[in-house]
């Protein structure tokens, strides 16, 4: 059993994103060593893409999420695996919609620690620098 | 340099202070190498290290350090462990003079 974590908290029986017209493709799981050259039109049709972090110290998934969004992917993007509450802000800012961790990992990281970082748009140096005006 | 005798101590850094610390006979932690438990048996050493590693709320980075016993008392064999037991050479307030 795994826990889905969003801005509004913990969900254990979260219904995955419903099939929507412009995302007819099946759900796809990617590993962190996925090569961006393999981003195809077919992949961009996926209903949901789940990228696995083998370790919280392996930051490749953040670049992969940014690249998928930059190639126009608008489906559901989920970070899965060994993720710590302290990473929730960078996960959301990289373009992920939510996080999926094991129940066991969730026990050591209660909801409050994730909620403390749910306001992930604040203190965003990079977002600020990309605006039209300051 | 073959050790004729198996002599080790268990050392680590204190989690809160970061200072060098050594395990005693009754599984407590002291800052002076001279007060450390001298372990002469490999299995005991392994068990002691496992216990130290289980105390992750007290110490960090526990490991077995080779020592020798002579008229000077207990001294570390590797020069790195000797420096660890003495403190930095350039600070006059000596070994971890807090």
């Amino acid at each position: 059993m795994s826990i889905i974590i969003t801005d509004s908290g913990f969900f254990s029986n979260y219904q995955d994103a419903k099939v929507s017209p412009n995302h007819p493709g099946p759900s796809v799981d990617l590993k962190s060593d996925f090569d961006p050259k393999d981003i195809t039109q077919e992949l961009l049709q996926a209903r949901c893409i789940r990228i696995e972090l083998p370790s919280f110290a392996d930051g490749r998934a953040f670049t992969l999420a940014i690249l998928l969004r930059s190639h126009g992917y608008t489906g559901h993007l989920r970070a899965v695996g060994y993720i710590l509450a302290d990473q929730y802000t960078m996960v959301r800012r990289s373009g992920f919609d939510d996080v999926e961790i094991s129940e066991e990992l969730a026990i050591r990281q209660p909801k409050k620690q994730w909620q403390d970082r749910a306001d992930w748009r604040r203190h965003d140096y990079q977002g600020r620098l990309r605006e039209q005006t300051l | 340099m073959k050790l004729n005798q198996f002599l080790k101590v268990i050392t680590a850094n204190n989690l809160r202070s970061g200072l060098v610390t050594y395990m005693t006979d009754n599984y407590e932690w002291v800052s002076n190498l001279g007060d450390a438990a001298v372990i002469t048996d490999a299995d005991l050493a392994k068990a002691g290290l496992a216990f130290a590693e289980s105390q992750s709320d007290v110490v960090v980075g526990a490991y077995l350090s080779d020592v020798k016993q002579d008229e000077l008392g207990l001294t570390a064999i590797h020069f790195r462990d000797k420096f660890r037991s003495q403190g930095p050479a350039n600070v006059t307030n000596g070994k971890q003079g807090i």
Binding site: P36, D58, G59, R60, F62, T63, L64, I66, S70, R128, L129, R130, E131, Q132, T133, L134 | M1, H78, F79, R80, F83, P88, A89, N90
Partner: protein, 362 residues
């Protein structure tokens, strides 16, 4: 297009670095317009994040990534990523840069001829040699850049006591438009001091043991903390630096020897930058004891040069006498008093210097 107060843009160099496999950087882009800085740097780090090795931390730095994939492959990936990123920056970054530049307006310099303080020079010969070594030309007429040496003979290179920090703080407030800098060589700098204030600054520094006139000399040693402090070190660095500095102070030869960058690292991670020292010392462990290898001919200047190993390492008791033989020998070998150690080495090559270090093998 915004210009950076005179510069039109950047040359971008990537993959340089010292450490266990030192490398000179390669040019990724000859010219990058000033306004495209952030998307381009973001592209470099983004490419590195996916391409850098995560299986071996000793092969993970970008210099290895560049070395293993080749600069062309890196350039192709960076340029592709940059093309997409460029569109995301719509101007706020350049506005912020202008706001930031306002914070760095030069202070109002009082530019009038400064006295030559001849009277003071007679009274204090120490002041003369201090002006020779610790003062650098300033762009505003009548001003000077003061380097405060944290390398008093026998002290730990780069250390300053709380009391010394307060003295430097006071001097900055009174005489350097409230500004200090930290140098790449573990010293502190008062960047804007009017020349007429130099005697007062010198006297204040002297009372705080901060007036050592040895910037750029052999006792102005860069030394990493080494095994006295660092968990990664394989040998100590600080005691070696202290002994070399006190030895040459006794010999009273420093000023005669002149410019000589001596740098000490306590392991191959090279935080003491020994590779680019005119004389570099690398502390290792050999047969259960500390052993110090000497490298020669390194240069951190514009034409960056990595030093080459002179031969087998010296024990902790032999390294300082070896350095002494090397430097005294240089004084004999140099063409004239103005030829620096590095220039002599470049002119004569390694052989005569190796002979000084390993006399038995001559």
């Amino acid at each position: 297009m915004t210009t950076l107060g005179g510069a039109a843009g950047f040359e971008v160099i990537v993959g340089g670095g010292l450490g266990r496999t030192p490398m000179i950087g390669k040019t990724l882009r000859e010219f990058l317009p000033a306004a495209d800085l952030l998307p381009y740097v973001e592209a470099i780090v983004s490419v590195y994040n996916l391409l850098g090795r995560r299986d071996n931390k000793y092969k993970a730095r970008i210099k290895i990534t560049v070395h293993e994939n080749g600069i062309e492959e890196i350039r192709a990936r960076v340029e592709a990523r940059y093309a997409r990123l460029k569109t995301l920056f719509k101007g706020a970054d350049q506005q912020l840069l202008q706001q930031i530049e306002a914070h760095f307006k030069a202070p109002e310099f009082i530019c009038e001829k400064a006295p030559e303080f001849d009277a003071f020079k007679e009274e204090s010969p120490g002041f003369c040699s201090w002006v020779d070594t610790n003062i650098t030309a300033h762009k505003a007429e009548g001003y000077a850049i003061v380097s405060i040496s944290l390398k008093k003979h026998g002290d730990t290179p780069g250390d300053a006591t709380a009391a010394q920090m307060r003295v430097m703080s006071e001097l900055a407030k009174k005489f350097s438009h409230d500004e200090l800098r930290i140098s790449h060589e573990q010293n502190v700098i008062l960047p804007h001091v009017h020349r007429s204030d130099l005697p007062t600054v010198y006297r204040a520094l002297r009372t705080a043991n901060l007036a050592t006139a040895n910037i750029g000399l052999i006792s102005d040693i860069i030394a990493c903390p080494g095994m006295d402090y660092c968990a990664l070190a394989t040998a100590r660095s600080i005691p070696i630096a202290q002994q070399i500095a006190t030895r040459f102070a006794k010999l009273e030869l420093e000023h005669d020897v002149g410019l000589l960058k001596l740098k000490i690292s306590g392991c191959i991670n090279a935080c003491g930058h020994h590779h680019v020292g005119h004389i570099g010392i690398l502390g290792l462990e050999r047969a259960g004891v500390e052993s110090y290898q000497i490298t020669l001919g390194g240069d951190a200047g514009a034409e960056a040069q990595l030093g080459t190993r002179a031969g087998p390492g010296f024990g902790a008791k032999d390294i300082v006498p070896a350095i002494e033989r090397l430097v005294l020998g240089y004084i004999e070998l140099r063409a004239d008093a103005d030829e620096t150690f590095l220039q002599s080495y470049q002119r004569l090559g390694a052989a005569p210097f190796k002979a000084l270090l390993y006399p038995k093998e001559k």
